[in-house]
Subunit: 145 residues, 2 copies
DNA sequence: ATGCAACTGAGACTCTATCTCATATTATCC
DNA sequence: GGATAATATGAGATAGAGTCTCAGTTGCAT
């Protein structure tokens, strides 16, 4: 399997763009931790590691990572988008606890089939899906407001 | 079935809040058209119908409608949230064309079952879900960039 | 009618995200 | 290697969504 950097470099080249040190630093940091993140977090993490990079560059780089398929927008909350890296990981969806806000990842073949089935029914050629299930985790059951 | 207004009034009463003329106007307008909308659109529609209402009141009212279960956040795009009214409609999900941006609603029992199945597997008591499927509609197939 | 809590509107403010532009970097061609 | 052109960056300005403040208003309960 190609490394993330190779994938990104090829994606950029195909658009006549370069893999600059800034873009590479963002990419590396995005894959450094397996967790959801937002842009400000990413900026802080890069700063703490001594990277000199502007917010503007991060804001410019993330849509490229999404477009290249390396990263996913996960959800919009607290007024901004949250992301996750997906390259090298099996596709998964999210179960969100309405009590403690924790997020559990899961994979389910039925959902993959549903994508195909519904696409066919409507004449769509599908490319992917995003499923979020809401509820209460074992610890939060009974505590519902 | 209760009317939307009754549902909203009860929801508000239970929180010690009132159903004011402004809140009612927002509610009525939200249910006046079956389509996705954003807050600015709603503001314009209310204005055109001669309603004097401030943006602040609309921003304050919509989260209440969502909390009461009458309205749903559908997606975040173009820098802001989009909503739909759901009370009195069967639960449905969305198929989105990546070419022309059109949105097709669908309902699928398999997805409902998946919610239950996955909730059980993870010990969650589920309350709902949101599924978006991405792809290309019949007209846009072949036009992919 | 009076008092009180809830509510509204206008505008100030905050915060996310984008844009501008001068400067810097990189690739390419000679 | 040096010149040139295309691409990229950073800093700060700007735009726009959404929230907050506060003075004045409304509506309910007694």
């Amino acid at each position: 399997m190609k490394t993330e950097i190779e994938v990104f470099r090829e994606f950029l080249a195909q658009k006549g763009m370069r893999l600059t040190p800034e873009r590479e630093a963002v990419l590396v940091e995005v894959f450094a931790e397996h967790d959801h993140f937002d842009i400000d977090e990413l900026f802080m993490r890069l700063r703490q590691k001594g990277q000199r990079i502007s917010r503007a560059s991060i804001y410019r780089t993330l849509p490229l990572l999404v477009e290249s398929g390396l990263v996913n927008e996960v959800y919009f909350e607290e007024g901004h988008l949250h992301y996750e890296h997906i390259y090298g990981h099996e596709h998964h969806c999210h179960l969100r606890c309405l009590g403690c806000r924790q997020i559990v990842e899961f994979r389910d073949d039925g959902v993959e089939e549903a994508e195909k089935r519904i696409g066919q029914a409507k004449g769509f050629e599908t490319t992917g899906h995003k499923l979020e299930i809401y509820g209460y985790c074992p610890q939060c059951q009974g505590k519902k407001k």
